[in-house]
Amino acid sequence: MSAFEAIIGLEVHAQLLTRTKIFCGCAVAVGGPPNARTCPVCLGLPGALPVLNAEVVRLAVRAGLGTQCAIQRMSVFARKNYFYPDLPKGYQITQAELPICLDGQLTLDDGKVARIQRIHLEEDAGKSSHGDAGTRVDLNRAGTPLIEIVGHPDLRTADEAVAYLRELRGILMTLGVCDGNMEEGSLRCDANVSVRPVGQTALGTRVEIKNMNSFRSVREAIVYEVDRQVGVIADGERVRQETRLWSMDLARTESMRSKEEAADYRYFPDPDLPPLQLDDAWLDAQSVDLPELPAARKIRYQQEFSLETRTSNWLAEEPPRADAFDRAIADSPALAAAFAAFLMTQVQAQLQRHERPWPELAAAMADLLRICGKWRAGQLSNQMLAELLQLAFADTARGLADALAHAEAQAGAVVRDDGVLEPVVDAVLAKFPSEVAKYRAGQKQLSGFFVGQVMRQLAGKADAKAISALLTRKLDA
């Protein structure tokens, strides 16, 4: 069988960080009682008219500037007609033929360029929940402002798709366009996936995958779907054009609806909304105060702090984390590389074990930096550090900053006084005479063994450097 390649393009919906909905003054928020954040406009009551939120325009333009799009001086809202319980007007207001941004691109970490076809504005639908009594409709979410970022099918692997999504998410978050929360649905990703034999130029039949609400599910769904399609072709059958839902539980995509009977959405310009026109002076002002984007930040971390690529990428891809990092190390840049590595390894491990909310971590950044500093200075041993972090992150009764300070006090000081260390070192050397002999015969690597034995006697609360110095003095004497 010949080799296949996958052709992948992502469609990403990002909820804009506005106070109010796209076409009415209802507050945008999560939770609360159903149908309590609505008005005649988002309920689709007779006579209600949409009026565009200016902030929505500003944020969409920022997204376009951050992805190197051409911002359109004129864009048009259209009606996309279909009936569904959570679509109050029987049409969705979206931008069809003339979107606000066209022709952008993202550069992935490996240097690959992935093109963006368009970014358009649209309103979100409400929420339907299906139960025995029927389908319940809550319209609190109806009219929430979204941008849809439509990528070209330039991606070839699941890893590239994830890298694209990470890059895009980082940009949107840095620009304050979207909070990037995939679990809560403020960032949603659909993937169009097809496969073709390597060397063939014509595209294979495209399948749309929905319901991927984490980076992991994006990766796994695409890997699964590519395998599935290759399998279908290997079996001598044809891939059907359809929409499939990713099921994390079943670890597979499942057919949702066939596109054979294609919907006829009857798009036409919304007569209630004249064309959106942007003037040059306003647009110029928008380009002025763009913050440093993740790609630039990664390079800065590498150049300024000599961070490893892996560390700089990890740090920069989560903009709030990078912002907090930047604030913390502003006064002690010499510690930046060590602190970044410390965050990526020890702190990240604790975070994965104990779910602490992000704002807590951001608030505790200065404490983490202080602890990292003490560790690097030998005032905390590796084991003391590990115990301290474990204690603090598990201490959900306190805020993380408090918990760290508390655990720090508990950990006490590291033992580095020769008066305390010397009897222990002597006892260890006495216990392992043959190792001492081997060391003296040239097996200097046994030094680590002796340090470990001493450390063990002192329950880990000793300064490894002080032990090492003492050992050297005694063994090399």
Partner: protein, 97 residues
């Protein structure tokens, strides 16, 4: 463009428009639609290939509003005219699928 409208075409359009039409009414509706389309065929007399569509009568651009919350309706007001409701939600027959 003179268009022949058959019963199947009316059925299709009615489906899009979510109007249930009894089979017996289809021929009448098809005839009505065909007559209107014959009436509008007069538009074919005009060459409009280079004419831009006019959708909004005046050339005024879109006005926007500031991103400031405004008082909306209470849950009770939102549901006041609902034919069926449950737990603060509008209620419909269960959507299949």
């Amino acid at each position: 463009m003179a268009v022949h409208v058959d019963v199947e075409a009316v059925r299709q359009v009615a489906k899009l428009a979510k109007l249930s039409v009894a089979d017996g009414e289809l021929p009448d509706l098809a005839r009505d639609l065909e007559r209107v389309l014959a009436l509008v065929a007069v538009l074919d007399e005009i060459d409009v290939t280079d004419v831009a569509p006019l959708v909004h009568p005046h050339e005024q651009g879109l006005m926007t509003r500031p991103d400031v919350p405004q008082p909306g309706l209470s849950q009770a007001e939102a549901l006041a005219n609902a034919p069926a409701q449950l737990d603060g939600c509008f209620l419909t027959p269960r959507v299949i699928g």
